[in-house]
Amino acid sequence: MSRKLHSIVALFDKPDDIIHAAEKTVSEGYKDFDVHTPYPVHGMDHAMHLEPTKLPYVTLCFGLFGLSFAVFFQWWVSGDANTSIGAKNLFLPYWLERYPFVIGGKPLFSLPAFVPVMFELTVLFAALSTVAALIAVFCGLPANAHPLHDTEYMKNVSSDRYGLCIEASDDLFEEGKVKDFLQSLGGHSIAAIKQPYKRPPSFFSTLIFMGVLGGVAMGVGVKAYVIYNKILYLPPFTWMETQPKLNAQDTNDFFENKSTMQDPVAGTVARGFMPYEYQGDIASAEASLVNPVPVNQETLTRGKLMYSVHCSACHGDLADGQGKVALRTQESGVWAIPGFHTDVLRKAGDGYFYHVIMDGKGKMSSYAKQIDEDDRWALIHYIRVLQRAKDAKETDLK
């Protein structure tokens, strides 16, 4: 069986010759032809009447896709299920939960914070799609060989000659005519290139090739894992990995529940985390708690600091219930914030205030986490100072 003809090729010696030859080939009406040069020759696109490449459109489309994908993805990830801006109505399974994290006090949907990711994804999608389109679409991925490969012609045009190749698929192709035409252009080393015996690889053989590549990649991965995690740790080279001790999460036959890590004894209290025993019981707190902190310059200064940090915003600097928050709540009539200059509170014991700090009262939440034990009592001393300042007695002047 004779091999099918692929093309007729000719070599030229000068760049001007090849440009001239390309122009002539176009004017002769040939369409399926190509030019091979060792380096880009200026003016060749024009001489060959090549259309501008369509590749930039792929880049543009995928760039815009990356941009919109980044916007959508960040909107969805940071969406709040309780607001309309979140992806609430997408009916997604639980493992596709969003992450509505407030970062830096910004709104969940913060476009300026998204812009860097939008930029990165635009570039990423544009770049990868350009390379993929170039290889897959414009170079025809399954074909990994070409009849011109491994010919004398290719050797010449990749070193110092300029080649013209008219392919047999052209409508006007006639072997004799083409040879004469190339001769008339001044080409030399005119040769007929035959199709190789083997067909160009089919899509499935390419798939098998890719499969082999994937297999090699997996093999390398497994090899690396075995060497670096198993073989290198064979005894006696244990690298102190195995030691005669029990790890917290290991099983252990010594205890009944087979666990190395044991629960602490019932009633154990962590250091600095004394539970509050009068939870929800203000009367007993007032009756039994006594202020252990002495009254002196130092504790009052400390109490004043604690008061201005934690209390004054609502209760006011002078404990008159006229703090900034109180003014706002009065304006909107939501709720009232009390001052401390009432008979009830003047007569209330220190334990009463302590209980409110620990347990909260009405809209006020617990401040147990914010204020330390000694500071709570110092703070109560300072409240007494404020109360006394507004309710000075005659005897104070003596």
């Binding site: 200026h42 696109d45 543009l60 830096g104 006090g105 300026p112 914070a113 812009v115 860097p116």
Partner: protein, 453 residues
């Protein structure tokens, strides 16, 4: 000029004459308008004088930067249009006069109508001479005029109530020492240091401008290849000096208008605007001169691609820098940094800020995206004009929100006319000083062979 090169001589041509006369006319008209409106609103006059000056400085410095950049990186495509950059850098001579005038008057004499009045001493302190005015004089003056401060503050509140509100309640009486932020910046913000820094900047710019251009013209006569080499060696230290001086220029003339503001990116921001606007003027002049037949006849339209690419790239760079500055400040949310953007995020300025995103970035980005667009002379001309306008508006957006008086009037139109007249007149003037093609530059032959395909 050698006889074998068949191109028209710009010097004495109808185009150069038309540019000079049109430039002179616009200069006269703009000057008359601005000076006419000076009486009614001197504050706006000086604010806009700074805008127009900084705009023209962008073009002059950009021209000088591109000349040095070509030497530094050994670029060849720009050699046939280098004389255009050199002519643009000639702007620096008249700008030195204008800049020193503006600086001296706004710093030492303009009082409250100076855009820098937030950190300058109160106006009565400004009437002494420029000489012998160090830190000591400063302190003495503080004591001597301390009692008249209250009266002064009163007069000011009437005039600039809006600006007070915008400054976030800062007391902006400058040298009286009430403002801890301004006091902490006093190591830089004194009239004398401002003035001296400005003089140093102009000194270096003129020095390097003179060196590059005179050497380049010398090469036209001698054809000495060593001149190109020597210029490349000088271009490297120039870049370091340029980075410092353009930052000083941006900080001194633009940032100190709102002295409470902190931003470490402002110098780069102005630099990015400089690159865009000067690339735009370079493109306009290249297209006009090449299509008019004044450049080297072998210069192909393929070279437009490089100009378009530079416009596109530097405009994207501007957007990158502008956004980086905004995003860092927005994220950190520190009052002394956000105040500048808050002022531009309120009222009418918000519309302008949003408009600038479209006008200065999005539309030019897509209008210059493809190669076809970058090589089309009409598109290039249009987009270059567009970007020049965008840079002018950018500077307006930087300077004007600090000006308490709103509105848009004859002053603004006058300065725009003045700036365009300046560009036309002085470009034509400096372009006629030498041949528009550096005939004996060793890279010229290579440059003329530049092709896209």
């Amino acid at each position: 000029m050698s006889s074998k090169v068949q191109h028209k001589n710009f010097k004495g041509s109808a185009l150069s004459g038309a540019m000079m006369y049109a430039g002179l006319g616009l200069l006269g008209l703009g000057g008359a308008l601005t000076i006419g409106t000076y009486v009614s609103d001197s504050g706006r006059f000086w604010s806009h004088a700074v805008i127009a000056f900084m705009f023209l400085l962008s073009l002059g410095l950009g021209g000088l930067f591109y000349v040095a950049l070509e030497y530094l990186v050994g670029a060849f495509w720009s050699v046939p249009v280098r004389r255009i950059n050199e002519a643009m850098s000639g702007f620096l001579y008249p700008l030195t006069v204008i800049g020193l005038l503006i600086t001296v008057i706004t710093i030492f004499y303009a009082g409250h109508s100076s855009p820098y009045h937030h950190w300058l001493p109160a106006p009565h302190g400004a009437h002494h001479g420029a000489g012998g005015h160090g830190d000591k004089a400063h302190h003495g003056e503080k004591k001597a005029h301390g009692d008249s401060h209250a009266k002064d503050a009163h007069a000011k509140t009437d005039k600039g109530a809006d600006s007070h509100a915008k400054e976030g309640g800062h007391d902006d009486h400058g040298a009286h020492g009430h403002d801890p932020i301004i006091e902490s910046k006093r190591w830089w913000l004194t009239e004398m240091r401002f003035f001296v820094a400005v003089c140093i900047c102009f000194f270096f710019w003129l020095l390097f401008r003179h060196f590059f251009v005179s050497q380049s013209r010398k090469q036209d006569v001698t054809g000495d290849h060593k001149i190109t080499l020597r210029s490349s060696q000088v271009a490297a230290p120039f870049m370091l000096v340029f980075a410092g001086t353009i930052s000083i220029a941006a900080v001194n003339w633009l940032m100190t208008i709102e002295p409470h503001w902190f931003s470490t990116m402002f110098g780069v921001y102005y630099f990015a605007g400089t690159l865009v606007s000067s690339a735009a003027l370079l493109t306009i002049m290249s297209v006009i001169l090449r299509e008019g037949g004044f450049l080297h006849p072998k210069l192909q339209r393929d070279s437009y691609y490089s100009l378009g690419l530079m416009l596109f790239a530097f405009n994207t760079f501007w957007a990158y820098i502008a956004f980086s500055q905004f995003m860092l400040i927005w994220y950190a949310n520190l009052p002394e940094e956000t105040m500048w953007f808050v002022a531009r995020y309120e009222g009418g300025w918000m519309y302008m800020s949003l408009f600038m995103i479209l006008f200065h970035f999005a539309i030019p980005f897509f209008a210059l995206l493809s190669r076809t667009q970058k090589t089309n002379p009409n598109r290039l001309l249009f987009m270059s004009m567009w970007l020049l306008v965008a840079h002018y508006m950018d500077l307006y957006w930087v300077v004007m929100p600090a000006n308490p008086h709103g509105g848009f009037g004859l002053t603004d139109i006058g300065f725009v006319l003045f700036a365009s007249g300046f560009v036309l007149f002085f470009f034509s003037f400096f372009a006629q000083k030498a041949s528009l093609t550096p005939e004996k530059d060793p890279k010229l032959a290579h440059a003329l062979e530049f092709r896209l395909h």
